[in-house]
Amino acid sequence: MRSAREALTASRRAPLLSALGVVTIAFSLFAFGLFGLVAINIRKALDEVEERVEVRAFLSDSTDIESVAAAMKDIGEFPEVNRVDYVSKDQALERARREMGEFADVFEAGVLPASIEVHLRPGQRSPAVVKAVADKIKTYHFVDDVRYGEEWVEKLYRLRNIATVAGIALGVAFATVAVIIIGATIRMTVLARAKEITIMRLVGATDMFIRLPFLIDGLVKGVLGGLLALLFVWIANRVVNEYFIQTIFFNRELVFVGVVGGALMGVLGSLVSVGRHLRRV
């Protein structure tokens, strides 16, 4: 296609400028990608922590095993509940010793009470649901105490909300910067070709014909910048994995979304700068 060829001609004529454009796009998307990576890893960590949200009911020593079994069956049928486990006195002791390591001897047999652990279904772990389940379990007469880390559950949720809001705000800010940079680089190409554009208009080339190469230019730069940014982010991720902590990388859908996002920013940037210029010529 002619316009594609024109777009490439423009890049060939100003190779340095074009490279600079792609690299700045890559850097802004890199910042965007790094944040995204942090965000998905925070999210993953939150999900893992959340997995462990449970309600633990401590049982009084005199409780007979039949009523506990009946209660567990009842609780297991609550719609919010995924699974109910029984932890005997011995198991509690063993677990405590394992977790405390060198302080294992502190615990004597029979000190820790038996308990039942109630695991909630995914999506049923909000503070309100957890509290409701805990309140229901409290009504059994043989339940001494119910622990569910009220504060801890609420904090977890607050952290997650903050992360989401910060992610969206920073993402939008970075995207805006990327569009402005792309717009500026294409604007430089437009200005470098101002004379050609003037002549094209005088001899009767249509606006769309004049615009198309710049749109393609923006698209190509956006995609290239996106791919380059992806490479940077991937390298950064590898380095972090190698020397610091285990992280996950974007899945294929997110990679695709990132590159399409770059392309959209490229086209948007070019629309803004070319549109403004054409109206003034």
Partner: protein
């Protein structure tokens, strides 16, 4: 073919550039637009190729009205108009033939026809031998002839020239003017803004004179007081360059 009725043009800062402009140009006519600097010649030409629209009145050209022309109408109209400027406006980074080819390419001319069309107009302006020269390798007169070739390549019904000889010396002026006459003789209308009263007097073409944005004289309405020159203007390539007519 071209009709202006009660056209006025006002610019936000500099005020009224044109007022009460009405005239018609017939098919194949040659018209001089004269008048002192700032009298509105360039403004009229811009209205003709719809680079700008009148503040009042209407410009009608080749079936397109300034009142309702869309961007697409204007693009299509400009493909049928040749436009030439004092400063040539050639692209410096490509040869004469590439400059002409550019026009055909960006207006979607069929690829197969491009080569022959470029060759034809270059021959028509007498520059077939300079096809591969870059603008910086050509004289002013030659550059202007390349610009004219570019203007002709889409077979315009009218050639609009804004002081096409303004940057040229005496001899180049004559050769370019002769070229415009030849083009006109083959049926293309020519509307030429000029300061060069010698050129105007030497030929007996219609003259519209402007002053302060108004038409103060139109030789098609009052019989021309200009002297007539019956012999056609010739270009003599004499080395002295001092011939007078």
């Amino acid at each position: 073919m071209i009709r202006l009725t009660e056209v006025a043009k006002e610019y936000p800062r500099s005020g009224i550039a044109l007022a009460h402009i009405s005239f018609q140009v017939k098919k194949g006519e040659f018209v001089f637009l004269t008048g002192p600097s700032g009298s509105g010649k360039t403004t009229i030409l811009k209205l003709l190729y719809m680079d700008d629209r009148p503040s009042q009145g209407e410009v009608w050209i080749n079936g397109v009205s300034s009142k309702n022309a869309s961007g697409r109408d204007i693009s299509r109209l400009r493909r049928r108009i040749g436009i030439v400027f004092q400063d040539f406006r050639l692209l410096e980074d490509r040869s004469a033939e590439a400059n002409i080819r550019f026009t055909l390419e960006v207006t979607g001319a069929p690829k197969a026809t491009i080569r022959s069309k470029v060759a034809r107009v270059l021959t028509q302006v007498g520059l077939a031998s300079k096809a591969t020269s870059f603008p910086r390798e050509l004289s002013g007169g030659e550059q202007q002839r390349v610009a004219i070739a570019r203007a002709l390549v889409n077979d315009p019904f009218v050639l609009i020239a804004d002081e096409p000889t303004g940057n040229l010396d005496e001899r180049a002026t004559r050769s370019v003017f002769q070229l415009l006459r030849d083009i006109n003789a083959s049926g293309t209308a020519v509307i030429m803004a000029t300061h060069d009263l010698d050129l105007v007097r030497r030929s007996n073409y219609r003259t519209i004179e402007l002053n302060h944005g108004r038409i103060v004289f139109d030789s098609s309405e009052s019989p021309a007081p200009a002297r007539r020159f019956d012999e056609p203007l010739e270009i003599h390539d004499t080395p002295t360059g001092t011939e007078s007519i």
